[in-house]
């Protein structure tokens, strides 16, 4: 720990004020999201606790406000503040899960492609090409459509989450695969890999034990940026109607709902979740930016 505090990375971190602010911001937002069930004043997922008569109450500093609802309520009478906490939680969980799945697929395929080379590499990279022709939105729409086609009516509340994760993961893995493949091709020619081969260690172990830890730097950077991207993409998908269901709103769903109330003067329904999303994405991105520069030895 002491060593970590004394490291160059940590000092470059402290030197960049923007990053410190971003990290603090991220930490606070993450905490708010994950502690939502304990700190949110209301439970927006508990339908029995919300009342339509509380709908569209403005934030407390405006006329006709209700002191129970600090940031007002949405069109169903859900507390905006609690909705944002819970929504952020869902957005983050979707983001995290999709990034983890994407990273897992991408890293495995990238390692194999880079290490094996030749035909295996060509096949994996062509699959990646096919994948690249389908951005996340298309994939989500297609998966949603296919799921409907195959399972008939599906239960949105249950499946939306998985559909989102699969489609986001499917559209993100290529980046990891390409990056890892590139670094693997460099690493595999390094002498430590040859040393391991001379010892007689099998390829799989070499890939996992020796190469993998040496190619994770860039992966970390992609992951932070993808986390932000996943959250925004999920928001877009909500707008298209294939995001989280309105009964379990993510930040994106909240914005998509609030969208309808932008002109009618109930701006808080869209603007507060929008601000929360922007803050979250901005902070995570700023951290990712800094990490990208800090981990790049060429820039030191």
């Amino acid at each position: 720990m002491a060593r970590a505090l004394d490291s160059d990375l940590f000092h470059s971190f402290l030197k960049s004020k923007v990053t410190v602010v971003a990290a603090t911001g991220t930490a606070i937002l993450f905490l708010l999201a994950f502690l939502a069930p304990w700190i949110a004043p209301h439970d927006p997922f508990d339908l029995a606790s919300i009342s339509i008569m509380d709908a569209r109450v403005p934030p407390v500093w405006m006329e006709y406000a209700d002191p129970r609802f600090l940031l007002g309520t949405d069109d169903q009478g859900r507390d905006m503040l609690s909705g944002i906490f819970y929504g952020m939680r869902i957005s983050l969980i979707v983001g995290f899960c999709s990034v983890v799945v994407a990273a897992f697929i991408g890293i495995s395929l990238g390692l194999v492609a880079g290490y094996m080379g030749g035909r295996v590499d060509a096949i994996i990279m062509r699959i990646a090409d096919v994948q690249l022709t389908f951005p996340a939105i298309l994939i989500a729409l297609l998966i949603d459509g296919v799921a409907h086609g195959i399972f008939g009516a599906i239960d949105r509340e249950v499946f939306a989450f998985y559909i989102l994760i699969v489609s986001l993961a499917l559209s993100f893995w290529v980046q990891y695969a390409r990056t890892v493949r590139g670094s693997t091709m460099v690493e595999k020619n390094k002498e430590y890999v040859q040393a391991a081969r001379v010892i007689g260690i099998p390829s799989v172990i070499i890939m996992v034990r020796h190469i993998l830890p040496n190619v994770t730097g860039p992966v970390l950077v992609i992951a932070t940026i993808n986390l932000a991207l996943a959250i925004v993409t999920e928001a877009t998908l909500s707008f298209l109607g294939v995001g989280m269901p309105p009964t379990q709103p993510s930040l994106g769903t909240l914005i998509a709902i609030g969208n309808d109330f932008l002109y009618s003067g109930e701006w808080w329904i869209a603007i507060f979740p929008g601000l929360a999303l922007a803050l979250l994405v901005l902070n995570v991105n700023l951290l990712g930016d800094w990490l990208r520069d800090a981990l790049n030895p060429k820039l030191r």
């Binding site: 508990d46 339908l47 029995a48 919300i50 009342s51 339509i52 008569m53 709908a55 569209r56 069109d75 169903q76 009478g77 409907h148 008939g152 009516a153 239960d155 949105r156 509340e157 109607g241 269901p245 309105p246 009964t247 969208n259 309808d260 109330f261 932008l262 002109y263 009618s264 003067g265 109930e266």
Partner: protein, 504 residues
Amino acid sequence: ETLKFAFQGALNALDPYSLNETFTLSSLGNTYEGLTRRGPDLAIEPALAESWEIVDPNRWRFHLRKGVKFHNGSDFTAEDVAFSVDRVRSEGSDLTTRVPADAKVEIVDDYTVDFVLTGPNPILHYEWDTFYIMDKEWTTENDAVKVTSASDTSANHAALNANGTGPFKIVSHEAGVKTVYEKYDGWWDEAKHNIDTVEFTPIGSDATRVAALLSGEMDMVYPIPVQDIKRINDNAGTKALTGPELRTIFLGMDQMRDELLYSDVKGKNPLKDARVRKAFYQAIDIEGIKKKVMRDLSNPSALMVSPLLFSKSADFERYPYDPEAAKALLAEAGYADGFSIGMDCPNDRYVNDEAICQAVAAMLARIGVKVNLNAQPKAKYFAKILASGGYDTSFYLLGWTPGSFDSWNVLDNLMNCRDESGKGSPFNNGGFCDEKIDQLTDEILVEIDPEKRDAMIAEAFRISHENAYYLPLHQQSLAWGVSDKLDLVQRADNQFQFRFVTKN
């Protein structure tokens, strides 16, 4: 003058018999005309038929208007009427019910046509304002006699072009992008409008549609979200027109299956129990929905038909909103702890449809019923809950406007028994079956005395109300956004007719 307007959906087919859907029929009503038409107050007026008489109970005689010319210049005659009747009843038409299948058409002379029925039918011509007459020659010449139906893989001439007798002709049409109309100078009626060109653009996004009106790019847009009405009224140069619509929004429940498709209750169907249905009814705070979701632009309804269409509406009253009573009813029925149920809901069909469903879900949650809401775009929604989808639903929200503006249509379509494939009342998705209502429906059809007829209708509605076969919610309001430059008529059937428009 040029009129620019936007609607939320697209005008896909130009064949007047392809699709029985309000907007399509409304759009084509500016180009085509029927034997009758409806005025600003929906009263039936003569159109291509100058007058008609019931020669004997089974024979109706229509005297056609003389000197009417189609847009392509050919004359309108009895031949065209007979041809249109055949065509509208042919395979592929979506409007086959406009003329009873067993009715015969007899051409008396060039300008007189007789309809021979197999039994009396006092409402034969009620829907004929949207049964448009086509030109026999034009249709035959262009090889478009066959109606372009849903199963056709290519569209014929009539689906891509239009040739009617109406006040406007279509000069260009790109489905989903833009349709341009031009004034028809040879129209038989005196033009009260001052419009030369009409440009229609579909704009799917509510916000964009409203923005287009606010920024002055559009003269008229509809529908507008209820929440934006205030803004449109506050904005200089635009106003919102609202008015009662004939459509009734209601909730339906599966009362046919022995076990619900989407519920945690196994082995039995709780919705077959009238107490459960009534509990649902009383759990719904309709005033709350009216105030908060509909922003007072709705009329809570105890009936499955608009009070404007039925004289005895005032006799019916909703069961009061009473969650405690609802809980008691549930407990009585053996569901003291509630249960869960899947609910289907469209999200782009009716005014605030999804928000209503959400509100209902929250209200039912208060009496212990957990609703899993599945809100989808209308195409997917209808494909699921209607006959074509095998009535794949347990609990759903639907809206109904009787096309004939008469209660019989409601009984016939929504309240009679049906079998699994939909024979009977095809839109009775819940599939409840009450012999008494079926019997009344048959009697009402042939009853000519209005007093007796209304009494029988009231009886049928009373049975439905008492058993809570449906949970009627409200009649929604029309909401159009209109530029101050425009003077127009907002008809309760939500049809937008250019002939009522003046622009200055």
